[in-house]
Symmetry: C2
Subunit: 257 residues, 2 copies
């Protein structure tokens, strides 16, 4: 059964999509069977994999609507991972699910049937603590929280931790927090160093603050435009190392089949 | 009656909150009576004004719940603008409103009664096209779209334009698009220049792409941490000029009382 990570933060633009894409590609490079799940109606992950969301006939929305297995909707990426794509139709799911039964479990109905096909599943959440994100947390084994090393992103962590506690009580007692992944760190600025230091001081005793740091680089935005992961687009930049190292750690800790 | 701007984009981290804060402060500096409305449960605008969202007894959520005037809930900022603050309680509003009557009009019920007290009202939207953002669009005279000069932000524009058309048909035929405000532009990178060029090519014939460009600077994140607008925190950086110039244009075009 695959290990499932939810990559979430209600703060926008902190590197959720970038983390799912690049961690996924680095895991695939190590020989892992990986599924990337786009749970954001923006379809940022789908775009970053070189797909055009608006041209897709079916997406994750169709699986969620029918509460059926994701399998028929999964695409192959250029780097060997599977992709369960999304487009704007997914925005309807949130409104439609709100009044339905077992509304927090829909994603589980879609992903559990394909769990045996993968070693790792990474879920890219939208910048909100709404029903779709709750679905991801209700199902995941781990939550990984990208934190841009800037003030507003740092302040968003407490709100997410409160939601996690609620999810652990009501839906998923197995959910644990893998850690805070520092992103957009810039050696040239004091502010990002200050925020990183505060992350350790404020959260270091209760949560892991990954020692892998994703440095700021315009290559990330370029690689998204190229529809390629950073580990292929700009293999040698420091930011790519963090994703490779994180992938190696996850890979080495996978349960042996 | 105040002119109302909604500042929206479903793409996260493009500078929505930063734009409301700094455009608001620049308008207040010109002598405008300005109200800043935080319509994001993250409370980023509230934080950036130096307030602690979790310590507030009442917020915009209380006005929305009761469909009453915003007036009792408005705080004074250090730079002379009014602030209708938000905190995580606002996330409840979205779930509660979905099933209610006139759910797209709740924000209008809250802000119309204070319209005569201000010249300009700026609404900071959350990174989503859900009900709260629809409330802002249903009420606003103008929509201003901050666009980070990066690929994924550029791709988010069409989705927002589709929603605008629906809102114009069903809720607010007066809504017009003020323009695309380029943010996080970085002279040192080709990618941001390329995206800006494409913004003009793709959207320039139908929309205004503001000539005021907000350059990338870490001072913006620092100023949010200081709870101060950039025009006070780092008066002379290029990024501050764009907000001053945009404010001057809005100010000069206000209807004379
Ligand atoms: N380490 C980095 N350095 C510089 N830019 C980055 C980095 N990581 C991501 N980016 C860029 O920053 C922007 C935001 O990243 P991304 O879209 O992955 O964040 P997100 O949290 O998924 O956003 P959203 O909240 O909209 O879903 C994108 O343009 C992306 O290409
Ligand atoms: N021109 C700029 N240059 C550099 N950093 C900026 C600039 N404008 C904003 N920022 C910083 O980038 C981050 C994102 O900006 P901001 O929070 O205003 O975006 P947003 O669109 O409101 O995000 P969200 O989608 O989460 O509401 C913040 O840390 C902010 O301080
Ligand atoms: Mg994303
Ligand atoms: Mg914001």
């Amino acid at each position: 059964m695959a290990i499932i990570y939810a990559i979430a933060s209600q703060k926008g633009g902190v590197g959720k999509t970038t983390t799912v894409l690049n961690l996924g590609a680095a895991l695939a490079e190590l020989g892992c069977r990986v599924l990337l799940v786009d749970l954001d109606p923006q379809g940022g992950l789908t775009l970053s994999c070189g797909q055009e969301p608006d041209s897709l006939d079916t997406t994750i929305y169709d699986a969620l609507r029918r509460s059926t297995s994701a399998e028929p909707y999964i695409l192959k990426t250029s780097f060997g991972a599977g992709l369960l794509p999304a487009n704007v139709d997914l925005a309807l799911a949130e409104m439609e699910l709100v009044g339905s039964l077992a509304r927090e479990r829909r994603l589980a109905m879609v992903l559990t049937p394909v769990g045996h096909l993968y070693d790792v599943i990474l879920i890219d959440c939208q910048p909100s603590l709404g029903l779709l994100t709750v679905n991801a947390l209700a199902l995941a084994d781990y939550l990984l929280i990208p934190v841009a090393c800037e003030y507003l992103a740092q302040k968003a962590i407490n709100g997410l931790l409160k939601l996690v506690k609620k999810v652990q009580v009501h839906y998923n007692s197995q959910l644990s927090i893998a850690g805070l992944l520092p992103t957009m760190f810039d050696r040239r600025t004091n502010h990002t160093a200050q925020v990183l230091k505060e992350l350790h001081e404020t959260f270091g005793s209760q949560l892991r603050v990954y020692e892998y740091i994703v440095y700021r680089s315009i290559r990330f935005a370029e690689s998204a435009a190229a529809g390629e992961p950073i580990i292929h687009y700009a293999r040698n930049i420091p930011g790519a190392d963090a994703y490779r190292e994180l992938a190696r750690e996850i890979f080495l800790n996978l349960p042996t089949p």
